[in-house]
């Protein structure tokens, strides 16, 4: 009995290995993905946002503003255009993201405690830039405003300590939990890499049934008396084993070499990934049993695998999607997986919270395998009758 199972598994490994395209995808797809994404996000944070200052005043007071802006954490002064027209062109070309215009007579007006207005322009066409840039600008303008306000109050005869209290008696502290350095690489690189991995797994599992019943050797298998169940279980064992072998180097590089956060520890992440691998394999099996040929099976699988990352709410939150759409998103196993990966790597909320993720992925796997069996049953019946 075990000899037959071993032979089926060996045959399946040989099939996967000889399918050159699939072999390359499985061996290198997710690893290359991880390295590529790690390279793209190697800068990790959006600091040093290119900033231009148009200093129309050129006074000591305007120099102070420039110094404060230079000392700002996230802004980097890259150029000093002569006028607004030049600044506009730089922003249009995308060479600077933030533009500051210090008006004429700025120093004089500040000295005379007259009102003056500093112009700030932010290029909003890239949200990743714009959100960070506006936060940086708001922070620096608050501190500059407080400094000038205090000196104005002192000039008006208010005691220095009172002037200080007026502006600085409430301090605001901000903390980014789970990702204290707001590192973009921590947020996205692993997620993108496992997204590639799940796409590769979908491609492989979409060959499960059609890879057998779509070739003439199917007749030989049927006539050899090998049980369909044994064939299916042995093939699936090889597939899921290959999926897990594929993800191991990705996780090793991510957690041990790149030091991405892993709050839950190795056993939990591997067990969760294993559960998802089974569920994904079951979904691919449905596609492979329903499709008329291998190309259609691959297409059907990828129709779900491709948009699943966006649907999962890993980047744009599920809570911000339309109310009626949110429950639908949870029908995709990938939503449970990507959400679960986020919780496990960053937060580790504990078994009492995570058990439902394991449970639902397991239930989905049972459901999908059952549907696949129903599709395949028709073929089996046909052969029995034949």
């Amino acid at each position: 009995m075990f000899r037959q199972s071993r032979a089926i598994m060996r045959r399946e490994i040989s099939y996967m290995w000889r399918d050159k395209g699939l072999r390359n995808i499985l061996l290198f797809g997710s690893l290359l993905g991880l390295l590529l994404f790690a390279g793209v996000y190697s800068h990790q944070r959006l600091d040093n946002i290119p900033t231009a200052i148009v200093d129309l005043d050129k006074s000591n007071a305007s120099q102070e503003v420039i110094t404060d802006l230079k000392n700002s954490e996230n802004l980097q002064i890259v150029t000093y255009p002569d006028d607004f027209v030049q600044l506009k062109e730089l922003i249009e070309k995308g060479e600077v993201i933030v533009g500051i215009v210090i008006p004429e007579n700025y120093g004089k007006n500040v000295a005379l405690h007259r009102q003056t207005r500093v112009g700030v322009v932010i290029d909003g066409s890239n949200m990743a830039y714009a959100t960070n840039a506006s936060s940086a600008v708001l922070t620096v303008t608050r501190s500059i405003g407080a400094k000038i306000g205090i000196s104005t109050l002192i000039a008006k005869g208010i005691e220095p300590n009172q002037a200080q209290e007026a502006y600085q008696s409430i301090e605001f502290r901000e903390d980014s939990w789970f990702n204290p350095t707001t590192n973009y690489a921590y947020f996205l690189v692993l997620a993108f890499a496992v997204n590639i991995w799940q796409q590769c797994c979908t491609l492989a599992s979409c060959m499960n049934v059609i890879g057998e019943k779509g070739v003439s050797s199917w007749m030989q298998i049927r006539s050899s008396g090998v049980s369909v169940w044994k064939l299916f279980i042995c093939k699936s064992f090889v597939h899921i084993g290959a999926f897990m072998l594929m993800i191991l180097p990705v996780y090793f590089l991510a957690f041990e070499v790149f030091k991405f956060p892993l709050a839950c520890g190795w056993p939990a992440i591997l067990l969760f990934t294993f559960t998802f691998a089974i569920c994904l394999h079951s979904l691919g099996t449905v596609m492979s049993s329903a499709a008329g040929n291998a190309v259609d099976s691959t297409r059907f699988g990828m129709v779900i695998a491709l948009p699943s990352f966006i649907i999962s709410g890993f980047t744009w939150p599920l809570e911000s999607m339309p109310q009626w759409f949110q429950p639908l998103a949870w029908f995709f196993p990938q939503t449970w997986f990507f959400q679960g990966i986020n919780y496990l790597t960053f937060k580790n909320p504990g078994w009492e919270f995570m058990y439902r993720y394991f449970l639902i992925l397991g239930l989905m796997a049972i459901l999908f395998y059952s549907v696949a069996a129903l599709f395949t049953h028709g073929i089996t019946t046909f052969f029995r009758r034949g």
């Binding site: 290029d123 909003g124 890879g211």
Partner: protein, 399 residues
């Protein structure tokens, strides 16, 4: 001309007969655009679930709470009364941001001592994280200003005097091109271009492999029809469908998803035309050399995420290493996505698009040349060992 039209006619018939291909050519682009559009329809990230831990329970601390209640940016989650509740909520995702008002907040305020309000946000999703941070800073700037005004009023200063002091230097902040921080305006057009890129490739790249699998490609190779006619005939239906989809998806983006769409229509159509030529011709070249439809489908499907990420459309190119930036510059998607953003979002004219249009034109010329002049010489298939799914035979029912 007749030969071209005949080839095009049979290709169109094939598209209409193959149900899955028909779906990929005409339905899938709209379906994906509608799906992504629905996901981003809310436009801006609002109602961030916020837990406020008010340890002071004073009039002053309630003022802080009500300032957060009176904004659409946050949605106060009830039941968060302690730091432990906040930690738990942040861990299980019911809360994405928190404010902690210390126990002695009002006392310290009345004694004019320094007090601290803590704000926390969930860094595990930086879309939440960065937006929440911006909302916090905006809120706290307003709150600080109110506090300063009331302090100065307490010193006996008149309203006018307070305004004079506080507005000595004011800042007028303008966010150009996307003042509402609309997420669809930022990302949706890039996704539309990716949908057109992937599905366009997927359709045309199967046109020759399919013929090879049916053993009919040999007829094209042996016939007296020149290469360029074969290419134009086979590519024409996909080119027309691609351009139709390009126009349709842009219309959907503007009409239903409320994506900002400004700039010259002529420029947009020119970009669409060049992009479509590149996709159609390079897809045809891929199809010429690919072993079968299965391999083409597999590799193409996997390309979408890497292409999108390295293009610099979301994570700016200035922060991507030069080598990867160079690689991205070889891809038509990078140029097209940048060009279409320049026109539709930034409303820039042709002066700013000279480089982009030149590169796309060069790519279109190069790929068209390769497609128009492909070799009709047959190469014998070298097969010295057993292979699976690597020849023109692919698994299908009714073998």
């Amino acid at each position: 001309m007749k030969q071209i039209m005949t080839i095009a006619y049979y290709e169109a018939i094939h598209i209409l007969k193959d149900k899955v291909l028909l779906l990929v050519v005409f339905i899938a682009p709209v379906l994906y655009a509608a799906l992504f559009g629905m996901i981003y329809i809310s436009g801006t990230l609002q109602h961030v679930p916020l837990g406020i831990v008010d340890l002071d329970h004073s009039t002053e601390s309630r003022a802080v709470v009500s300032s957060f209640e009176n904004t659409d940016n946050f949605k106060i989650i009830s039941g968060v009364t302690s730091y432990e509740d906040l930690e738990k909520g942040m861990k299980n995702g019911t809360v994405r941001a928190g404010v902690v008002i210390p126990k002695d907040y009002s006392q310290k305020l009345s004694q004019h001592q320094l007090t601290q309000i803590s704000t926390v946000y969930d860094g595990s999703n930086l879309i939440y994280g960065y937006n929440t941070r911006r909302y916090f800073i905006t809120m706290l700037n307003t709150f600080s200003a109110e506090h300063t005004a009331s302090y100065l009023a307490g010193l006996g200063m008149t309203k006018r005097e307070i305004t004079d002091v506080m507005d000595t230097v004011s800042y007028s902040m303008q966010v150009w091109y996307n003042p509402t921080y609309s997420y669809p305006t930022f990302i949706f057009i890039g996704m539309v271009v990716m949908i057109l890129h992937q599905l366009g490739f997927l359709c045309i790249a199967l046109t020759v492999t399919r013929e090879k699998e049916k053993n009919t490609w040999i007829q094209f190779l042996c016939s007296a029809i020149p290469q360029w006619k074969i290419f134009i005939g086979k590519a024409l239906p996909y080119f027309i469908a691609g351009f139709f989809n390009f126009s349709l998806l842009l219309w959907v983006a503007v009409r239903f998803i409320n994506v900002k769409f400004s700039g010259s229509l002529v420029l947009i159509l020119l970009l669409g035309l060049l992009f479509n030529i590149i996709i159609t011709s390079s897809g045809f070249v891929v199809s010429l050399y690919a072993p079968n439809s299965l391999q083409v489908t597999r590799y193409l499907m996997l390309m979408s995420v890497p292409l999108f990420v390295i293009s610099g459309y979301t994570w700016p190119g200035a922060y991507i290493p030069k080598l990867l930036n160079g690689l991205a510059r070889l891809m038509p998607y990078t140029w097209m996505a940048e060009g279409i953003r320049y026109v539709t979002v930034k409303n820039l004219g042709v002066d700013y698009l000279v480089t982009i249009i030149s590169v796309l034109a060069l790519m279109a010329g190069g790929s068209s040349f390769l497609a128009l002049t492909f070799s009709k010489r047959r190469k014998p298939f070298a097969q010295d060992r057993p292979t699976v799914n690597s020849t023109s035979l692919i698994p299908k029912k009714g073998f």
